[in-house]
Symmetry: C2
């Protein structure tokens, strides 16, 4: 079950020691349906392996971030100061957080890739991590609001 996890194989390929805890955490992150924060990641991972400690979660997150395999998000702090994590994908995408309903929209566009290029070239800056987040009102909530004003 953990064996066919792409992220796991990638970590292995980098010569990182694979412990039971790391396997469970990586599988959990990879199969997550939503953006997980450290606490939810711990909770979910414990369903696979109850012997996981909070400190290990933070240490593993740190490891995966350093390996460039995990991205950290704030999601505009809609729910407090914690961070959320997601597996890094081929193409960077951005996150839109709705202040009204709390929903998160993901969006990718070539314009973002081009902007990245421009940033890197014009500032002679080697980008390792990039994060674009916006907060505002999604279309459904905007309609809702308008309706209530009538």
């Amino acid at each position: 079950m953990f064996q066919r996890c792409a992220l796991l194989r990638e970590v292995e390929a980098k010569g990182v020691r694979l412990t039971a805890q790391r396997r469970a955490l990586i599988a959990t992150i990879q199969e997550a349906k939503t953006h997980l924060d450290a606490a939810s990641l711990l909770e979910l991972a414990r369903e696979r392996d109850p012997n996981i400690n909070r400190a290990t979660v933070y240490r593993t997150i740190e490891l995966l971030k350093k390996l460039g395999m995990l991205d950290e998000l704030d999601l505009m702090h809609l729910n407090g100061e914690k961070h959320y994590y997601e597996v890094r994908t081929q193409q960077d995408h951005l996150h839109l957080a709705c202040f009204a309903c709390g929903g998160i929209i993901e969006f990718a566009t070539p314009a973002f890739e081009m902007l990245k290029q421009e940033i890197a070239v014009k500032n002679d800056f080697e980008i390792q991590v990039i994060r674009l987040e916006a907060g505002g009102i999604c279309s459904a909530c905007a309609r809702e609001k308008k309706k209530n004003l009538q």
Copy 2:
């Protein structure tokens, strides 16, 4: 001295009650030469008015954020989990944080404004706040690194 502060006049115009503490905090933010976190803001503001409490700093930051006059930054958490603040400007700009030297580069480009437009239109999303931050290696540090490898 506080009177000629543009931000202060703006806040006043919105019908917000102006206390001595808020005047001092707003003046401090406006005249800051670097990105301030809550603790440094408190420290600096106390030079103007020693009767300022930590809680008031956080409450004022919250207020100014809600008024859309202050933007919150992470600066890639180069120095821990705290947040940094800056007065919102006409044109949005992005922040590049160098993991090697800790330097921050600010950069604005029409491409960013256009990307914002595209995001808003394609997702039918009303953007209220937007934040683009990148982490990596600045040109000076890249040169330094290369030199040391030779």
